[in-house]
C-alpha cells in the first residue's frame, strides 16, 4: 500500500455546491500519493465525478483547496494543470484522424514536428494501434477508441491521469480485458491515476486504494482487501460485494464482540465495528461466502434457523436463497465440495458464522 | 411549344397567383383594396346585391394583368370583374384576355344623354368601362413648411434650395419622368413628344439627377402618407385619394399641389371566359350609372368618369363640411395644368425605360 509523506494530490476541506442550497461534496479531505491508482467509487450522484471535475479544473471548489504537487491549483485553468484525462465517451475529436488526435496535445504545446511524430508512434505502439493511425475515430470499434483515448491522455507524459468511467460503454469481456491493460500501463508508466467508476468489481481489480463515495462524503478510504473484508459502515458493506444485512438492537458488548437481538427475536454475536452504546440499533452484515451450513464439525458461534427457498447451481458453488430471521432474501454460498449436506428446497436447517465474520455496523434502514 | 407544356406553365402560374379560391358566390369583383375598395363596396356592391339578390365576393390585388393572363390561359377563370389601369386594360384587350363590352348596354344619363356621349372622352374602350379618374400629384406636410412660401408648382418639388428636405417618389419611370419634364419647363401638351426622343429621356434623367440624393423611393401606395407622417420626407409624390384620406380621415396636416398632376383611369374589365359573364356585365352597367359613380365620390376623392355624375357629387361621408367636388382631380381649379397618362407611350416604352431607370438608379 502506498502512503507517502508528501501527497501528490491533496483535497483539503473541499466543498462544492451548484445551487447554493445543498452541498454535492461535503468537506472532502483526501491525499493521493504519487504513482498511486486511486479509485473514486460510488453510486451516481454521490459526488465522485464532481471531485474529479474539480481536480481537472472544469468545476471550481466552493470552499477549500486542491493541491497538486504541493501547489494550490484552484486558480489554474485546466489547460495549465497538465493533467491527462480520459472521458466516459472517449471524446476523441471526430474531425481528426487517430494520429491527429494523438498529436493534438503535443501540437498545442508547440513541440517540434519530428518529436511529435516520434511520440505519437511510441504511444500507438504501447496500445498496439499502429495500423490505425490514419483512421477517423468513427471507423474504430469501442475498444479501439478507448485505447486511443487512453493513449491521447498519456502521450504528453502527464504525471496525473484522470479517468471518468472510461470503460462504461464497453461490453463485459472487453471491459475486463481493458481493466488489466490499464492496470499494466499504470504499473509500467508509474503515473498517478484517479479513476472514477460505479462498478465495484472494476474498482477492486485495478486500484491501490478505493474511496467509497456516498452523499458527498467519503464513506471509507482503503485498499481493496480491507474494503471488502472490513467495511466500516453499512453503506460500504452493502455497496462492495454481496452481503446479508440484518437489523437488531445491541444487548451487550464485551471484548469487541457485541451481542445483538435481531428484530426477529433471535440473539446473535457479531464483531462490534461501528456501533453505538448498549441499547442502540445496529445493522449486521455478513458475506454469503462466510455463512456456513451448520454441521457437527462447524466452528460457527452464532447460529440461526433457516429454510431453503431457492437453489441455484453455479458449478463451483451453490447459491442458496434462504429464509433467515424473517428475511427470505438471505443468501448463502455453499462450496460445491460434497453433496452430503442434503440441500433441497423446503429443507429446514441451521446456518451460522464466526463472530469475526459478522460485522455490527451503524444502523441503516434496510431496503 | 406543345399545348401540354403551355397548359402546365399556365397552371403553375395560376397556382402562384391565385392563392385562394373564391367561396361560392355569384360574382367575384377584384380591386385594389383599402379605402378605394371600401368606396366601391358602399357605392356599387351593396346596392347591386340589394337589387339583384345575388352575392359578391370582393378580392384585393396589386394591379397588373399577370393574374388575368394566368387565369385565362389556364382556362380556370375565377375573377369576374377586375378594376384595372388604362394601360393594362388596353394591353389585355389587345392580347385577347378580356370580354368585349357593348357600350349600348350601358345606361344613359338621367337626362337621357346616351352613355357614349355622357362618359368623358377616352373613358370607354372595347373591353373596358372607366369608373373613376385618379391622379398622381405631390403632397407636403404643411406643419413643416410654415415658414416658407407654400410650394405651388411642380418645379417647386424639384427645387431643393428653396424647399430643402427629402422627397418621396415612386420607384418607377412612369409618372416620375413626366414630372421631371414638367418641372423642367416642358408644357404638359408636349411631355410625351419630348419623352419620345433620346434627348428628352436624357433631359428627364438630368432633372432627376438634381434631386437624386434627396429622394426616398417608395413602392406601395400606402407608403407616401406614412413617409410624410413619420417625417422621413417633407414632400412626396402620391395618389391623390391616399393623401385626401390621410388628411380628412386621419387628420394629417398634408396639402396637395395639383400643378402638373398626371391623371389616369381605373376601368372595369371582364376576363375572357368568366363563368358569370352575364352577371358581370350587369354589375359593370349598374356600377357605372350616373348615381353610383356620384355615390362613390362621397367615399373617396376620385372623379367619376361620367359628366352627368359631376353635378351630383355630395359631401364626404364622415364630414358634411367637405364638398367632395372641390377635391376631384377633374375639378376646374385642380385641372388647370394636368396631363393624361399616355398608355400607348408606356406600352411601347415601359420595358426599355424601366431598364434605363433602374440603370440610372444603380449609377
Amino acid at each position: 500500500m502506498v502512503q507517502a509523506k508528501d501527497p501528490f494530490v491533496s483535497f483539503k476541506g473541499v466543498q462544492k455546491s451548484y445551487d447554493g442550497e445543498s452541498l454535492v461534496v461535503k468537506n472532502l479531505n483526501l491525499d493521493i500519493a504519487s504513482g498511486e491508482f486511486l479509485t473514486m467509487l460510488g453510486p451516481s450522484g454521490s459526488g465522485k465525478t464532481t471531485c474529479l471535475m474539480m481536480l481537472a479544473g472544469f468545476e471550481t471548489a466552493t470552499h477549500g483547496d486542491i493541491e497538486l504537487g504541493g501547489r494550490p491549483i484552484n486558480n489554474i485553468p485546466p489547460h495549465k494543470r497538465g493533467i491527462g484525462m480520459v472521458f466516459q465517451n472517449y471524446a476523441l475529436f471526430p474531425h481528426m484522424t487517430v494520429g491527429e488526435n494523438l498529436a493534438f496535445p503535443l501540437n498545442v504545446r508547440r513541440i517540434p514536428r519530428a518529436e511529435v511524430e516520434e511520440k505519437v508512434r511510441s504511444v500507438l505502439d504501447m496500445v498496439q494501434m499502429m495500423a490505425f493511425v490514419d483512421r477517423k475515430p468513427a471507423q474504430l470499434s469501442g475498444g479501439q477508441q478507448q485505447r486511443i483515448a487512453l493513449a491521447r491522455a498519456l502521450v504528453f507524459k502527464p504525471e496525473l491521469v484522470l479517468m471518468d468511467e472510461p470503460l462504461g460503454a464497453l461490453d463485459k469481456q472487453l471491459r475486463e480485458h481493458m481493466q488489466y491493460e490499464i492496470k499494466h500501463i499504470h504499473e509500467n508508466l508509474g503515473v498517478t491515476v484517479v479513476y472514477v467508476t460505479h462498478d465495484q468489481s472494476e474498482a477492486l481489480t485495478m486500484s491501490n486504494r478505493i474511496a467509497v463515495f456516498d452523499d458527498g462524503v467519503i464513506q471509507q478510504l482503503a485498499d481493496p482487501v480491507t474494503l471488502y473484508e472490513k467495511p466500516e459502515n453499512a453503506f460500504v458493506a452493502q455497496f462492495i460485494g454481496e452481503n446479508n444485512q440484518m437489523s437488531g438492537t445491541i444487548e451487550s458488548i464485551s471484548k469487541g464482540i457485541a451481542t445483538v437481538k435481531l428484530d426477529s427475536g433471535d440473539i446473535v454475536k457479531a464483531l462490534a465495528v461501528n456501533t453505538g452504546a448498549v441499547g442502540s440499533r445496529t445493522t449486521l452484515s455478513v458475506r454469503p461466502e462466510r455463512c456456513v451450513v451448520v454441521t457437527r464439525k462447524s466452528t460457527a458461534v452464532s447460529t440461526l434457523n433457516a429454510k431453503i427457498e431457492e437453489l441455484i447451481y453455479l458449478g463451483d458453488h451453490i447459491r442458496c436463497r434462504m429464509n433467515v430471521a424473517g428475511d427470505d432474501q438471505f443468501i448463502v454460498k455453499v462450496p460445491n465440495t460434497s453433496g452430503q449436506l442434503g440441500l433441497e428446497i423446503g429443507a429446514a436447517l441451521k446456518i451460522g458464522w464466526r463472530n469475526d465474520d459478522c460485522r455490527a455496523l451503524d444502523f441503516r434502514e434496510l431496503d | 411549344m406543345s399545348g401540354l407544356t403551355k397548359k402546365l406553365i399556365a397552371i403553375a402560374g395560376a397556382s402562384v397567383f391565385v392563392g385562394s379560391t373564391a367561396v361560392a358566390a355569384d360574382l367575384t369583383v377584384v380591386s385594389w383594396g383599402g379605402a378605394y375598395t371600401k368606396s366601391q363596396v358602399e357605392a356599387y356592391h351593396k346596392p347591386w346585391m340589394a337589387k339583384t339578390g345575388k352575392t359578391i365576393v370582393s378580392e384585393d390585388y396589386g394591379g397588373g394583368i399577370a393574374e388575368i393572363k394566368a387565369q385565362v390561359e389556364s382556362g380556370n377563370v375565377t375573377w369576374d370583374v377586375v378594376d384595372v389601369e388604362l394601360s393594362d386594360a388596353i394591353r389585355a384587350c389587345d392580347e385577347g384576355l378580356l370580354e368585349p363590352i357593348d357600350h349600348s348596354t350601358l345606361p344613359p344619363a338621367p337626362d337621357g344623354t346616351p352613355a357614349t356621349e355622357d362618359f368623358l372622352p377616352g373613358t370607354l374602350h372595347d373591353c373596358a368601362v372607366a369608373n373613376i379618374v385618379w391622379s398622381s400629384v405631390y403632397a407636403y406636410d404643411s406643419s413643416k413648411v410654415r415658414n416658407w412660401n407654400a410650394p405651388k408648382t411642380m418645379a417647386d418639388f424639384f427645387d431643393t434650395k428653396a424647399f430643402p428636405g427629402k422627397r418621396g417618389m415612386r420607384k418607377s419611370p412612369k409618372v416620375t419622368m413626366e414630372f421631371a419634364l414638367i418641372a423642367d419647363g416642358v408644357p404638359t401638351s408636349e411631355v410625351y413628344d419630348v419623352l419620345g426622343t433620346e434627348e428628352g429621356i436624357a433631359r428627364a434623367f438630368a432633372k432627376l439627377d438634381t434631386i437624386k440624393e434627396d429622394v426616398v423611393w417608395w413602392e406601395a401606395g400606402a407608403q407616401p402618407p406614412q413617409l410624410l407622417a413619420d417625417g422621413e420626407v417633407v414632400f412626396s409624390t402620391a395618389w391623390n385619394g391616399r393623401v385626401f384620406n390621410a388628411k380628412n380621415a386621419e387628420g394629417q396636416p398634408f396639402e396637395m399641389v395639383w400643378d402638373g398632376q398626371i391623371y389616369d383611369l381605373d376601368l372595369f374589365v371582364i376576363p375572357k371566359g368568366s363563368k358569370n359573364k352575364e352577371a358581370a356585365l350587369d354589375f359593370v352597367a349598374f356600377s357605372t350609372a350616373t348615381e353610383q359613380l356620384a355615390a362613390q365620390a362621397s367615399w373617396i376623392s376620385y372623379g367619376p368618369a361620367r359628366a352627368s355624375s359631376e353635378a351630383r357629387i355630395g359631401t364626404f361621408h364622415s364630414d358634411s363640411s367637405i364638398k367632395m367636388a372641390d377635391h376631384m382631380p377633374t375639378a376646374a381649379a385642380n385641372f388647370k395644368n394636368a396631363l393624361q397618362n399616355d398608355f400607348e407611350f408606356w406600352a411601347d416604352n415601359a420595358d426599355q425605360l424601366n431598364e434605363r431607370f433602374n440603370a440610372w438608379l444603380a449609377k
Binding site: 489547460h79 471524446a91 491521447r152 | 385577347g96 420607384k171 416604352n349 424601366n354 431598364e355 433602374n358
Partner: protein, 420 residues
Amino acid sequence: MTDSQTVTSGAITAADGTPLKKKLAQALFRSRVRAVSLVVPLFAFVMASFVIPIFALMWQGVYNDRFSTYTPNLTEQLTAWDGLAEPGEALFAALVSDLKTARKDRTIGRIATRVNQEYPGTRSLFTSTARKAKKLRAPFKESVIKTNKKWANIEIWRAMKLTSQDLTPSFYATALDGRYTVDKGFVAQNENRQIYVKLFWRTLLISASVMGLCLLLGYPVAYLLATLPLRTSNLLMIMVLLPFWTSLLVRTTAWIAILQSQGVINDLMVAVGITADDSRFSLIYNMTGTIIAMTHILLPFMILPLYSVMKTIPPSYMRAARSLGATPTAAFIRVYAPQTIPGIGAGGLLVFILAIGYYITPALVGGQDGQLISNMIAYHMQKSLNWSLAAALGGILLAGVLLLYWIYDRVIGIDNMKLG
C-alpha cells in the same frame, strides 16, 4: 456449409434448387416494388408541381413562338429573307395579311408585345397599322409605309426576323446586358440600358453579406441555445423564432420605426450625442436597410441548423481539448468550430439561397440601391409579362446557385451538411 445449400457447378443454390442469387433477387424485388409504390405519389407530385413547371419555364427562356404562331405568312417570308437586303413587296404583303387576321382574332397585342421586346417603341406601330390593315391595297410596300414611315426602317424588319425564330438566344442575351442581332450576332446593350449584370453582382454581394452577418450574429446565439439550461434556452428560442411569427407588414413597419432618420436608433444617437440632429444616419431606404432587414428575417435559418449541430457536440470535447493543454481559444478554434462546419455550411447555403430570391423586403426598405435581380424577375413575371426574359434571368440565377453549390460540394462536401 449447411444442409439447405448444395454446391452445383460452383454456384450456390437455395433449398429448392434455384440459384441463390436469383432467389435473393426475387425476394428483394418484391420489397423494392413495395418501396417504389410508396414513393410514386410523392414523386409524381414533385414532378408535376415542381420539376416539370420549372423546366417548362426555363424552356421559355430560349423558346418563344408567340410571333410565328400568329403570323404564319410573315414568318415564312421572314425565314426566306436574308435580313440584309431591303424588305420587298412579298414581306409587306404577308405583313398586311397577317395583321388583318390578327386584328380580327384579337391577337395583335401578342405580336406587338413580342416585337416590342426586341425593338422597343414599336408596339403602337403594329396596333395602329393593324387597325388600318383592312383598307390597305397593293402595292403593299408603298401603302404600308404611307400609313407610317417607320415601316421603311430595316431594323424593325430585322427585329421581326429575330422574333420569328422560335428558338432564340436573345432573351439570354438581354439578361446578360447584350443584344442578339441579325447582322452582327451578339453585341453589347446600350450602356444606359445595362442593368442586369450589375444587379446579379449586387444580388450576390448582398446575399453574401447577409450570409456573413447571419453567421456572425447567429453563431454565438446558437452556441448559447445549445449550452444554456433548457428553461433559459427555450425562452431564447422563442425570441429567435419570433420573426417567423410576425407578418411582413408588421416587421416592415417595425424596421421603419426603428431605422428611419426620425426613428428610435437615430433619436437615441442624437440624444447621446453621437451625431448631430441635422446629420442623422441613413439606415433604411438604402443598401444598409436591405441588409439589416434581410439579416433579421433570415437569422433563424442560420441559427437553427447551427443549433442542431451544436446540440450534438458533447461538452466533453471542449473539456478534453482543455485537459490536453489547449487554451479556451485554441480549443474553440481547433476542436469546437470544425465540428460545427456542417451547420455553418447548411445555414450558410440556406440563407444565401433564400437571400438570392428575396424581393419584397428589398423593394420596401431598399431605396435606390436595394433593387435586386429578383425584383427584375418579379417585374417581368408580373408587370411586363415578359416571361421569357424572366425565365432567362431565373435560368442564369439558377446556374449561379448550382455553381456555388458545386463549389461548396468540392470545398466542404455536401454530405457534410446538416439541416436539422
